[in-house]
Symmetry: C3
Subunit: 155 residues, 3 copies
């Protein structure tokens, strides 16, 4: 009986699974951080949430925006805008039979760039730290897309 290749024998796919999961967890951490800040700083959006801090008019003053919370939300949104295209393009790329070492460097550089981006945004570090982190990640995803289209264009 023939030995049957499984996705679990595909090293590039296994590596993608690990790196993608790590960077997706980092993105999800931004949700939890926003929630944590909303509770500890008492900054809410919805009237039903304000009730936790005070009834009626007393609670309404907690419906407000806070620069610290907004910064975490922008970091989260930037992750959504960048990590999800990485996941989508990276998944297709890792199934297109790329060289394992080229693929690994794409995954490593992308994941490192997103941790650097979040640190640069939340600290905040002076520019061009955040801009650089963004462009490294963006370029990595773009490079995978380019290789993918070059190797498997079928329209």
């Amino acid at each position: 009986m023939a030995e049957i290749p499984q996705l679990s024998d595909n090293k590039v796919f296994l590596a993608f699974t690990s790196y993608a999961t790590i960077v997706l967890l980092k993105m999800m951490a931004m949700s939890a951080f926003t929630g944590f800040l909303r509770v500890t700083k008492k900054v809410v959006v919805n009237p039903e949430d304000a009730l936790a801090f005070g009834k009626g008019e007393n609670g309404k003053k907690f419906i407000r925006t806070d620069e610290r919370v907004e910064r975490v939300r922008r970091t989260h949104l930037n992750d959504l805008e960048n990590v999800i295209p990485f996941f989508a393009i990276g998944l297709l790329y890792s199934l297109s039979g790329p060289d394992i070492s080229t693929a690994l460097w794409h995954f490593r550089i992308f994941v490192a760039s997103r941790f650097y981006h979040s640190i640069a945004y939340l600290t905040p570090l002076p520019q061009p730290n955040r801009g650089l982190a963004f462009f490294i990640g963006y370029g990595t995803t773009f490079s995978m897309a380019y290789r993918l289209l070059k190797s498997t264009l079928y329209l």
Copy 2:
């Protein structure tokens, strides 16, 4: 000739396909609902949209925000922030060879938690309904990510 395993013979993957499609349709319903409210309540963002309700200065008064529409948009954004990581991590998890019954419960609980979340946000139900729904879904995705990294870490 050897029987060849296909993704369509993989029960976990089939189950993931069904649950993911259902929860993605639920997320897409929020787009349609926002559009529906914008038309029926005459609340628009763009000048070219306001022209449907009145010309010139007469139309401009419909460029405004409305608390009901904003609530639907927040529900939608919360779906984007949670359903997409579920899709990404759940897809990788379902291809990593998990136990079918464990996998099914993860999918069922996640999908139920997101319906509960939307109901809690749109009604709105008093807290901690929405918070609970969020944490159940978040925990389910986190549990899949943890199992995935434990079983197939390859860096």
Copy 3:
């Protein structure tokens, strides 16, 4: 030895890979465009970004919103809300063994509708251009989800 089917022998999956990559690159172009406008029009969100244009009080005046930038951001957000469900549902659909010509038309119409949507939003073209583009794309994704659930429901 049996010939083993690989994802790279699956024409629907290959076609999905190409169309999805193209529309994901189009979505990513919105990030770059927002960044380009922020720099050329000097419209920033963060104090550390304003320093590029002036120190202290002199820089603060660049922390502002601009209707042109906001329009690009809305176009980007609309892409996130629609391209990502297309990717997720389209991926599962293309692995469910659909007819190649039906699948190709779904992919082509969706991708064309999103280019049309961005052009309609950024120009802006008068309504119902943008609304129509949105509904064509939305309907295409919905049609794939319907076919998927009809062919492989497993709960």
